[in-house]
Amino acid sequence: MPDPVKEYMDVLDPEEFKKEVLSKYPTKVARKRAKQILINRPEGEPVQEIGANVRTIPGIITQRGCTYAGCKGVVLGPTRDIVNITHGPIGCGFYSWLTRRNQTDPSTTEDGHNFMNYCFSTDMQDENIVFGGEKKLRQAIQEAYDIFHPKAIAVFSTCPVGLIGDDVHAVTREMKEKLGINIFGFSCEGYKGVSQSAGHHIANNGIFTHVIGTDDTVKKGKYKVNLLGEYNIGGDAFEIERLFEKSGITMVSTFSGNSSIDFFANAHTADLNMIMCHRSINYVAEMMEKKYGIPWIKVNFIGAKSTAKSLRKIAQYYEDEELIARVEEVIAEEMPEVERVLEQIRPRTQGKVAMLFVGGSRAHHYQELFKEMGMIPIAAGYEFAHRDDYEGRKVLPDIKVDADSRNIEELEVHPDPVKYNPRKSPEEMEGLKKKGFEFKDYEGMMAEMPGGTLIIDDISQYETEKLIEKYKPAIFCAGIKEKFAIQKKGIPMKQLHSYDSGGPYAGFKGAINFYHEIDRMVNSKVWSYIKPPWKKNPELSARYAFVA
């Protein structure tokens, strides 16, 4: 059978591409970028090593964001009932105000609290920079409490806070004691780490330390799970919740799409942690396993097949015939519609080329949907992922901890003297493993991409332009900053951070939405109007002069 990737890439040699791109850079930059651009060789030995989670090159035009964005914007942004106060000048709070398309349904918590539509900031002024901002922060917390009476207040530090030495943790501790509600701070100054990824880690540590395990109420339900690294962009979490409910699985908490702090508080009562976005949230899963004895597995609800596989994996974990049967019923009910739509659409999408440069997991997960449509992902990369997200968790022991990562605290976690309760005995775990069941497994993106494809970490604007110039994909997936430069070239660009519009794209219904959306984009006539008729048919005639 002909290999479409090989056919495609043989004509446009990726080695040539890499060489050409690097030749534009100053020598030192080229050397560094060379490690972050690979031609995938999934089967070869030794396993390729990619440069990832390394410092961004100043001036290269990166798409990366900062630690604050990862902490406040991504991980805690979708939690609706915490009053999230940004401690800093106004900008950071302003830009992270409702700009990610996290949806939430406040009717699932009785009090109906929802502060997501609000932006709270200490709006630091120059005198706060000079004399310190702690007093203003203390007062801001008091005012937030007096006006809103929230269940919890969180404080997010921006760049200058760390520099001037405001102790947000001391202030939040003091105010927690004074006001009697949960108040905690995050040292997520933008300059920490090398990307938003550091902010995810800091957020994980904070939720783990200050919230998880503070409420021992056990929800009803036979199969209780947490879903981690799902942010309910465009309603993804709603679709996953629908499937769980249908299957009889009880969601204790999602981190953090459609979430409430109440759900985080008793997340430790679940019996299984499932990770969607490995990059942003694996820390919490690791820590919860150590402290509470909850095993974690990697799942993926992007793509119909992956969704089915993930549902089966949950059922398998519980080793419960009733659940296994129910999950099979659900899959059998859902799949015919998926297949019906796919049958219609696939002839129009088959063989088209896609590129994905986004996130810490989505550039990988979304390849599943493209593959279902017969499309070929020929180039992909993450904006802020680490080597394990590319190469798989097997490389974890080999990852060197550099100065930037060392800045991010690693919590020391021990089994909780009271609440530690291994959900599976070592024998049960072993038994499952023998049956081929994998705990905390993540193979990474590279293992699942075909040989000869391009893997590019923290892609620059220049590389993006070169890539589309040379390979002319049918669709490019990235974020808002890349979007219009690509579309100016007449190539449709789908945002996979926040989806532009639409969604959900998770689960079975989400897969169907995505097929329709990509079909709309890659087959739309609107892109065919770029050339006006007079440029298509350029012969000139001077007839007008005759008539005149």
Binding site: K24, Y25, P26, R55, T56, I57, P58, G59, I60, I61, Q63, R64, G65, T67, A69, G88, P89, I90, G91, C92, F94, Y95, S96, L98, T99, N114, F115, N117, Y118, F120, T122, D123, M124, Q125, I129, R138, Q139, Q142, E143, I147, F148, H149, C159, P160, G162, L163, G190, Y191, K192, D404, Q461, E465, G479, K481, F484, A485, I486, Q487, K489, G490
Partner: protein, 467 residues
Amino acid sequence: MKMEAIDKSKLLRHTPNEIKERSALTINPAKTCQPIGAMYAALGIRGCLPHSHGSQGCCAYHRSALTRHYKEPVMAATSSFTEGSSVFGGQANLLQAIDNIFTIYNPDLIAVHTTCLSETIGDDIPQIVNKAAAEGKIPKGKRVIHTNTPSYVGSHVTGFANMVKSMVDYFSTSTGKRKQQINIIPGWVEPSDMEEIKRLTGLMGIKSVMFPDTSKVLNGPLNGKFIMFPDGGVTVEELESTGDSIGTIAMGLWASEAAAKALDTKCKVPYAILDLPIGLKATDRFIDAMRIMTGVSVPEAIEIERGQMLDIITDMHQYFYNKRVGLVGDPDQLIALSEFLVSIDMWPVYVVTGTPGKAFEKRIMEITAGSPYEVKVKAAGDMFLFHQWIKEEPVDLLIGNTYLKYISRDEDIPLIRHGFPILDRVGHSYFPTVGYKGGIRLLEKILTAILDREDRDSEITNFELVM
């Protein structure tokens, strides 16, 4: 303490009616920070790549916000500070960035702005740029300019004003020979507005240099090409020539005064500070100022446009009369809009800007003197307070950026989107609100909002066909 019950049908369900004095907590800001204004202004210079000297998140946030507002590529680079740079200073990062930018992207110039981070550290940008030049990192004929934009002072408008002033500081030169041209500093307006202002000066037969000029940069066509440095924008040559112009018209005290003053001090170019030409009277003053500054006469074409605008005002006056309006935005826009509304017998009753400045409050009170309603105005205010005022006594119409749509829906009041950012509608990049033509568009928008509401709310008995 008893809380008001939450109305679960509301988006802003926690906003209580009762107003409590706040001294530390800003809720739902009506401003953002300086650097984004500097970035926007720098995009209005031809061949310029804005550069953010700070953490990379600032640059990412500014590019995203501008991109969402314009639905256009917004290119800018960053020094990508790490913890190390925050301790030891960002010199190494900026040197490397300058080298990389010229090598890879080859702009004509780089416009550096600072951030709260680099300002708090105290990085000396000119010193670093000099070092870059000494090390040969700035190719011949290329320039690196800078402006200081501490995020903890003023607002995005201040940052814009600072970058525009830097254009004067770096480029304006007096050769001693006057040029038959005027300078126009348009203030923070849309590319469409800048185009419209140029069209009007063209109709007047006046040669002008407008800076910055984001038209054809942030409202570019789709033609199958991505051009990183489009043909729009004021050129460095034009900027240099501003020192020889016969005068400067600066629009908006907040966004444009600093540059106009600097140009007068540096090159003795006299200036007039006008309000943004939004509405009949402000546009009249703009046209007249150009006439007086240059001695040309106003062509009939402009008088026709003026007459058309006035025609709509008089034809539809009954729908404007005594309507109550709430506005949130930037000082220069709000001053011009308020005057415009008063001129057609609509009344700004709540006016809020996040940008500080007591002069703003005073000016709005002057404009609205004689109002039949109590007028509330606040500089350095926020949308939370604005919303609480509305809860006390509602208005007929809201004017402001997209964030007002939460109040608009909760309180069921029509909203006209104006200002920055507009994240959910198009049009602002293409259709101006300045000049008489822009006034016609504003009138149309106001009427559509009011009349749609009447159509929706009228009883079956008095539903009107002709309005």
